[in-house]
Symmetry: C2
Subunit: 179 residues, 2 copies
Amino acid sequence: MTDRTTGQAGDNADRDQLDGLRPGEIAVDLPDHFDAALYYIGRIRTPWKRRDDCPKNPRESDAVCTVELDPRWVEGLAGLETVSHVVLLYWMDQARRDLVLQSPRHYAERRGTFALRSPARPNPIAVSVAKLLGVDGNVLTVVGLDCLDGTPLLDIKPYFASTDSVPDAAVGWHASRER
Amino acid sequence: MTDRTTGQAGDNADRDQLDGLRPGEIAVDLPDHFDAALYYIGRIRTPWKRRDDCPKNPRESDAVCTVELDPRWVEGLAGLETVSHVVLLYWMDQARRDLVLQSPRHYAERRGTFALRSPARPNPIAVSVAKLLGVDGNVLTVVGLDCLDGTPLLDIKPYFASTDSVPDAAVGWHASRER
């Protein structure tokens, strides 16, 4: 593991800037091989063309977005029209994968990657719950996304309140931040 | 796209049996290339060694399971101990990826892959919400999983009720089945 906040300070300060690390962020060496592979099965269309334009989280916007499924898979949508909400998995292809401690722009403290929903993670797969407005051929119309226009789609799942909804779940570090 | 339920009936009946398709299930030709790649970042330890032993869904069992994170990533857990529930992503490495219409064992009707939570899907990534009991070094103790022992781990995320919980979400085909 490479701790880029230790070692020869001058060199590392230079390297961190080159690498785009913020102060205190730590990156590790990535594994030397991949273990499995993904197909992009479609694209997500949103109003946001630059990362700075994207809402901070999916409930911040009620913009209507569309999910364009590759026609190869269209029969897989049968029955989805009866569902009120979908879980969308998509690939945040612009995120770095080696950060373990990070300082997101809008938080003061650094935290572990797995305590954050940041795009930067070993496998940059986002999970978003969206309200399904309709299905027309291979296109879904949804509300509740925050990703860039053109983001690669990985999966569509029905949202089951019985297993997916935990209204009283708490994120301690975030709650104390809001107090 | 190959519709394996049409064409020369005898041949296809034979081929379907060889392929393990149930009556009415349809498989498509997979894309000729992959688009992105995954790291396994750990393993999930559960009491279930065979698919037939697994609970039908994560709320059917209160077995305590463990999530063993590769030590490479352990600093990424900082702050996670303040979280009540986690979203776990894992790779269902034994599932076929080419089904678009399928007939799960416990449902009478066939449905589209994207209307089901079946492991068989183009990218067999499972999303499960689990109650976090504790974090000790690189090991999480959780309740609320239904997967096989040894399942490869892809990601750990904090569960935010504000964006992830939709208590009144409905899955129409499933509701009408229960009536």
